[in-house]
Amino acid sequence: METITVNKNKLYYPPGGILLWIIIFLELFTFGMALIAMVFYSKYEPEVFHNSRLLLNSTFGAVNTVFLLTSGFFMAISVKSFKKNNIKKTTYFLRLTMFGGILFLVLKSVEYYFKIESGYTIGYNTFFSFYWMLTLFHVIHVIVGLVILFNIYIGFKQQKSSNSVEDFESSAAFWHMCDLIWLLLFPVVYLIF
């Protein structure tokens, strides 16, 4: 079986491509600064932040972390299978990756439903303003990631696949970026206050 290799040990070609990594850093800085702002504002209203944090379901957050990490694991296996030209395994693990993302969105929707029903909307207090803005912005990234992965999946299903290793790695890097953002959001929003 032919193995496709890409030399990543170059400054201008990190795994996924330099442009995608510039986007990843911009996203990480954006979310990072927003989280730092959240912690900064918590100093002015410590009781509000603590009591509001207790209103969140950290079990939902932990389960969602497991969903995204598992999805990321399947994504990494899928990329590995693609490099070995094993398209059957690639699409199988890609389906599992997307399934993990969908589970994340379903659980997030349930969480949002309970929050809205209880009246903890974006204008409830400062904590919930940050909660909604940060988590919704992240959810948008997950949806975009799913659209990209679905597009790649459709590409594999065509008779003559047009997907290259670089395209697939870039899509995978975007998906992993959603993991990275969540790994910063979860502890700060759900646990530390």
Binding site: K8, N9, K10, L11, P14, P15, G16, W21, F25, L28, F29, G32, L35, I36, V39, F40, K43, S58, T59, A62, T65, V66, L69, T70, G72, F73, M75, A76, I77, V79, K80, A172, A173, H176, D179, L180, L183, L184, F186, P187, V188, Y190, L191, I192
Partner: protein, 81 residues
Amino acid sequence: MKKKILLKVWIVLIVLTVSVALVANLTLSISFTAIIILSLSILKFLGVSFYFMELKKAHVFWKAAVLMYVFLFFVIIIILL
């Protein structure tokens, strides 16, 4: 990256996630709990970026950039808490 290594990393990430959830329920001081939670979360961040995203094989610049980012994030959050 071998599949076995990826599987090991995934198991470690899940164990760390469970540990973070358990630590959050302990009755320690808030700042001490926050330091443990953030440290474990940053380990997960590095696990995903270095193994799942194959940053381990990338140029040292990208590794240093990620390490610098998580270090700054951790320090600023801890100072502000």
